[in-house]
Symmetry: C2
Subunit: 361 residues, 2 copies
DNA sequence: GTCTATCGTGGGAGCGCTCCCAAGCCGATG
DNA sequence: CATCGGCTTGGGAGCGCTCCCACGATAGAC
């Protein structure tokens, strides 16, 4: 079943059918109706490859998970991002191609790059949180290929969508300070990811504004996993210096591990140590005590990345689009802003307690 | 840069270049070398759409997340499955298109179906855990479109890859019985998912083989989320009947919620109640006590699904391929088979304790 | 030395669309 | 009544490949 076939059945030309299919207004109502009728009854849909070949656009958006990031792929961050991306693509009648570098080094990466980018398989690419030194950014820029980063890039002037990591971290630490916490530790993410760097910067700034200096022994890098958070917390506890009375953790998964480490060390949260995480993913918020956290709009980030990319694909020469989404503070038990949830509350939901939200810029 | 261009530069015909690109042996070594050289220095890659149009194959595999399943998409199950699928596709030089029905009802679903399947956008589809009554299965079968289910289907004779849900559940419950547990509860998944049904069947069979009858008040359906597991456990505890001394939970996420509910109810695990989960995902295994669980090879399931699909795409008329992968029991603290992990163990990793594995058929 | 198989190669046809240009038709205009 | 512009329509050309067939060269068989 082809365009030509439909045209024959509707008694019009191939061109007219093409116009109907593509929503071209230059078709008489009568012809349009006839064609639409035939299309419906034949259950016709134009052939994607033929369309792509002739129009030089595939209507496919690539979603690239760099190898360095793939190790974190089990984190619920990615499903959330994917949902946002797919949703926006569906709305725009585009498809999503998932590109993952499944092995270390240039081999797979190069193969995927050639097949997908150079083979014009996709019209544009969204890169899920690249690491700072990832060569793909420079390569895409050089090739003049439309792309959008999820997470800003420090060295290149490129399009990106990011959340206000620095502001969110600043907010969290300022909140802890305002509640009388004085020795605030931080568990950061991997040092080569810009989100880690920005969250750390927010932490440092907040401390400095309050006249404190960050203490080296109180800052430990994790790897964004729960296990990493556990070990980082252990490291802080066993560092020999005076124990902190609060810890800001760069991801909820790590915060969850940190809570575990504190429990294992018989420290009470929030009484002995207050904890604030980062992410706001519902999955990782079910803890005892319920985690206070900086919420970032991940799905919205995915949607926004698609919007930016579509815009970029439409106007390849336009200046880079850069969008930073706000974060907000969700204050619950682990920072002491909300009472412990009652146990066996009749009809209530004590797994995720209601929460005090603090909206921000 | 086209085939023709490369041909001109290499002093051969378009056909010869095509043969080289596609690994056709009917090319002289001299010509092949010359062409490969030109391709390399021009960084050429054939145009995907042109290729697809002429060859009538896209080399794209669709990965469909049905709407009913999408609500569970945040579960680490899906990243694991995706990783397996993408890995196998990369190896076979295929691409992955992610299809999600992002809204309820036929609208999006139909739109995606038409665009992707009827538009011949993909050569075949992998369906991630459909629900029993999903009409997509019958539709694909009717259209004669190659597809593989992740999770078997009870009504249709179709290709699928599944894990031995029933056997795994049977193993877990038999283990609990062997350790003297007598009142064994079960938290199942949604009743319209075949994995739930099979795991429940294994539970019932194991009980019956030991001369027990499943007690209705001790079986509660969850929704595969942590919160669902929490509520299900609460429901069992407050049902008024004699408390169980063990509970088999159909997913690790739910088991994690169940542990929380038990803790809130001041019940000790495993002393008062033993718990065994299902999944074996590392992320959800970090709990106190560390969860015993039935491990299913999710990534392998994804890889296997791709292999089956490629086979099916190669031979469209062949009989359905059905493959069931084995599960195994991972015995740790929550069923009492492993001591509580020591706290602040020097150099050790007490977040995920070492474990006793029981390999099975 | 002729006949036939084998191998490497080239080029035509065509995949199913989109894009562009030209042609036909209409009512409005001077 | 001839002219003009807007609207609708049709068809040619071509997107960059693959597939098939045919051609010439080489080599082996008789």
């Amino acid at each position: 079943m082809t365009l030509e076939e439909i045209a024959r059945l509707a008694g019009v030309s191939r061109s007219t059918v093409s116009r109907v299919v593509n929503g071209d207004p230059r078709v008489s109502p009568a012809a349009r109706q006839r064609v639409e009728e035939v299309i419906r009854q034949q259950n016709f849909h134009p052939h994607a490859a033929a369309r792509s070949l002739a129009s030089r656009r595939t209507r496919i958006v690539g979603l690239l998970i760099p190898y360095a990031v793939g190790k974190l792929f089990r984190d619920p961050f990615f499903p959330a991002l994917i949902e946002g991306v797919v949703q926006a693509c569906n709305e725009a009648d585009h498809n999503v191609a998932l590109m993952m570098e499944t092995s270390e080094g240039g081999a797979t990466s190069d193969r995927v790059y050639r097949r997908v980018i150079r083979g014009r398989h996709v019209d544009g690419v969204i890169i899920a949180s690249s690491v700072v030194e990832d060569p793909i950014v420079a390569r895409l820029k050089e090739d003049g290929f439309p792309f959008v980063l999820v997470g800003r890039h420090p060295h290149h002037d490129v399009s990106f969508v990011d959340v206000d990591n620095r502001g969110g971290a600043h907010m969290a630490v300022t909140h802890l300070l305002a509640h009388g916490r004085r020795r605030i530790a931080m568990i950061t993410g991997p040092r080569n990811m810009i989100a880690s760097i920005d969250r750390y910067a927010g932490y440092v700034t907040a401390l400095q504004e309050a006249g404190h200096l960050p203490e080296p022994a109180l800052t430990v890098a994790g790897d964004f996993t729960r296990r990493g958070g556990y070990h980082a917390m252990q490291q802080i506890l066993s560092s020999g210096v005076e124990l902190p009375d609060a810890v800001f953790v760069a991801s909820d998964a790590m915060a969850s591990g940190a809570l575990q480490a504190l429990r294992d060390a018989s420290l009470r949260v929030p009484d002995d140590i207050a904890v604030i995480g980062f992410d706001g993913l519902e999955e990782t918020l079910v803890s005892r005590p319920v985690l206070s956290t900086v919420v970032q709009p991940i799905e919205e980030e995915g949607r926004e990345a698609v919007r930016a990319l579509l815009e970029l694909m439409e106007h390849p020469d336009r200046a880079p689009l850069q969008r930073v989404l706000p974060t907000h503070l969700l204050l619950r038990q682990s920072c002491g802003c909300e009472p412990e949830s009652p146990v066996h509350q009749k009809g209530g939901d004590s797994l995720v307690a209601s929460s005090v939200e603090v909206a921000t810029a």
